[in-house]
């Protein structure tokens, strides 16, 4: 039986972007308010899962042609590089640095190297979650 899920698909097209924006907000809010790389990554993954529910696996992999295993290892590399950067300054591993910068539009903001570590976590979480879901979904 062929089902008509035009309502689900249309709603998904709107809601997907809201979820992604919210996940980016959560990701950047992590330092001062609840949030961070882990929840941010899970939210992004849940957005993609919603796409998978509304459409099928093939459509989603053609619109988002991402190899999630590579994404996971790039995330790990970013986290490792952030941690190991301190080796070149001869301070203990994982020593972070931050400073205040005047950015256009945003004004005075603090930028911290921990954000790069969080980016690594974010990519790993998205990569691992999507690898699990895709490989289970792919399996006949």
């Amino acid at each position: 039986m062929k089902t008509n899920d035009v309502i689900l698909q249309t709603a998904t097209k709107v809601v997907f972007f809201i979820i992604i924006l919210f996940s980016i907000h959560i990701f950047f809010a992590g330092h001062y308010t609840p949030g961070g790389g882990f929840v941010g990554g899970l939210l992004t993954a849940s957005g993609i899962v919603l796409l998978l529910l509304a459409f099928d696996l093939k459509t989603v992999t053609t619109t988002l042609p991402i190899n999630y295993t590579v994404m996971t290892s790039i995330g790990l590399l970013i986290a490792l590089a952030t941690a190991a950067g301190s080796i070149f300054f001869n301070v203990p591993l994982l020593t972070h640095a931050f400073d205040y910068f005047d950015l256009p539009l945003l004004g005075k903001q603090s930028l911290h190297t921990a954000v790069f570590f969080d980016t690594g976590v974010y990519l790993v979480v998205v990569g691992v979650t999507m690898t699990i879901i895709q490989s289970i979904g792919d399996d006949d």
Binding site: T69, V70, L77, I87, P92, L93, L94
Partner: protein
């Protein structure tokens, strides 16, 4: 270079990540794994020299002051273990080239090994009890991959048991760390030792000590908690089995040695007595298993359990001779178990079976293999010039000094059983009437035999050259006997 002690952890991690990017490119996988482990080995040798020259190396991550950040500590015991586990992994990877098969190699086999070495080296190096839990998980999750990779029926069945047991023991580990944290209020191992000494080890600390014994005993297979090990270890292919047999139980043993010599030292009458009784029972259980089977894998696997008992008996004596002996025996056992598993892997590859009754007469076709196996077997049992002798001698000496007559006699008797069990392999597989075999090609055989032979040679050198190794072992035992050096190195002057 204050980050030097982290290199044995970072390098395999880095190479593991890189290898994840090219799973299907076999030459990159093999080359990357070898280069990664070689650089790790070089880093650990440099670190070994530095620890010998300058004493204990310690660093607290993130430039935080000592008890507040995660401390990483490299004393002689941990760096010796890091060095020997990297060495074993290198030989296992070399052996894997000709034995593991392309299907497994292209599904993250080498990244799995590299991540496991990351976890093992991290667990040996860390100075923070919760960080030790995290590194345990790193090595366990990689070992789950290695035990199930290939998806044969027996692997699937045994991996379920293995994962179940390890998840339960990990949960217990978290609960135990929670209890300890609620009593002493700190997670840094040096700081825990100070705080326990301040409150003079009340009864609750003894309870926690027994809980730790339970947790690490499940990982390291001591007497009532070893039930999962024999069948689980028999499931994966030989190189994985060699890696597990040589390293994974030793991490549990190291954790018992560390906690029982650093934390729970004030009231030894109960905890160390319990450890001694359990280790003697472990030896007996292992001996029974080693004699009961006609399966070469099972015989060597039960020998792991015997060795765990011997090492922990040494630890429970808490005097210089016995502690030094247990470090000696620990390193010896990592080397010789690796070598023996690789050797029986060759026997199984030649005869196509692991059943001793179906083998025979291999000495006529493979004389080198036979004599190498005999030397490794003598080394395992502790025949004097070989590697197992000095460690066991010192452990027995320590046992007599602490007036634990019966335990020491059990250790001596267990050597006979060990010798008998491995000689049975030699007699059944190499002597007697030759049976029908499928001879390996020259190239395949050399690829399997070379790493095993070199490991046996290393273990012989370890035994013959024990005079040169003694100062290192002495340093390792000294830190265990006098934890104030460790505490001083981590917490500084305070």
């Amino acid at each position: 270079m204050i980050n030097l002690l982290l290199f044995p952890i970072l390098l395999p991690f880095f190479f593991g990540i890189i290898l994840m990017l090219f799973p299907k490119n076999l030459s990159v996988q093999r080359g990357g794994a070898i280069i990664g482990l070689l650089t790790t080995l070089i880093a650990s040798v440099v670190l070994l020299v530095k620890v010998k020259a300058d004493g204990i190396q310690a660093i607290t991550l993130g430039s935080w002051p000592a008890p507040f950040g995660i401390s990483m500590v490299s004393d002689m015991l941990s760096i010796l273990l890091v060095f020997s586990s990297t060495l074993i992994a290198l030989f296992v990877v070399w052996y894997s080239f000709s034995s593991i098969g392309k299907a497994r190699e292209s599904y993250f086999y080498y990244p799995g090994i590299l991540f496991m070495i990351t976890g093992v080296n991290g667990a040996f190096t860390t100075g923070d009890i919760f960080n030790m839990f995290v590194f345990f998980e790193v090595l366990l999750i990689s070992s789950y991959l290695l035990i199930v990779l290939g998806g044969e029926k027996v692997q699937l069945r045994e991996s379920i048991k293995y994962i179940l047991v390890n998840i339960i023991s990990s949960a217990l580990f978290v609960v135990t760390v929670g209890y300890l944290y609620s009593v002493v209020g700190t997670l840094n191992m040096a700081d825990i030792a100070v705080k326990i000494a301040l409150i003079n080890q009340p009864g609750i600390i003894t309870v926690i000590a027994v809980l730790f014994l339970l947790v690490f005993g499940l990982k390291g297979a001591i007497f009532p908690l070893y039930f999962w090990l024999p069948s689980s270890y028999a499931a994966p292919p030989i190189p994985v089995l060699a890696l597990f047999g040589a390293l994974l139980t030793k991490v549990g043993v190291y954790a018992i040695m560390r906690t029982y010599t650093l934390f729970f030292t004030l009231d030894q009458s109960f905890t160390h007595e319990l450890l001694m009784i359990l280790s003697v029972l472990t030896i007996i259980a292992g001996c029974i298993g080693a004699l009961a089977y006609f399966d070469v894998k099972k015989i060597i696997i039960y020998n792991i359990i015997i060795a765990v008992g011997v090492i922990l008996f040494g630890t429970s004596q808490m005097n210089e001779a016995a502690l030094m002996g247990s470090v000696f025996y620990l390193i010896h056992d990592i080397l010789i178990k690796g070598a023996l598993f690789l050797l029986i892997g060759i026997i199984i590859a030649i005869t196509g079976t692991s059943n001793l009754r179906k083998m025979g007469g291999l000495i006529k076709t493979y004389p080198m293999l036979g004599w190498t196996f005999l030397i490794a077997a003598f080394g395992l049992a502790g025949i004097p010039p070989l590697s197992g002798f000095v460690g066991k001698l010192l452990i027995v000496q320590g046992g007599f000094q602490a007036e634990n007559l019966w335990g020491s006699i059990f250790i001596l008797a267990s050597s006979l059983v060990v010798l008998l069990s491995v000689m049975r392999i030699f007699i059944y597989a190499f002597w007697g009437e030759p049976v029908e075999i499928t001879p390996l090609t020259k190239r395949h055989y050399r690829g399997l035999f070379a790493p095993a032979l070199i490991l046996v040679v290393i273990s012989v050198l370890y035994g013959v050259g024990s005079e040169w190794i003694v100062p290192y072992m002495n340093d390792a035992a000294n830190v265990m006997l006098d934890p104030s050096q460790y505490i001083q190195a981590v917490l500084g002057g305070s």
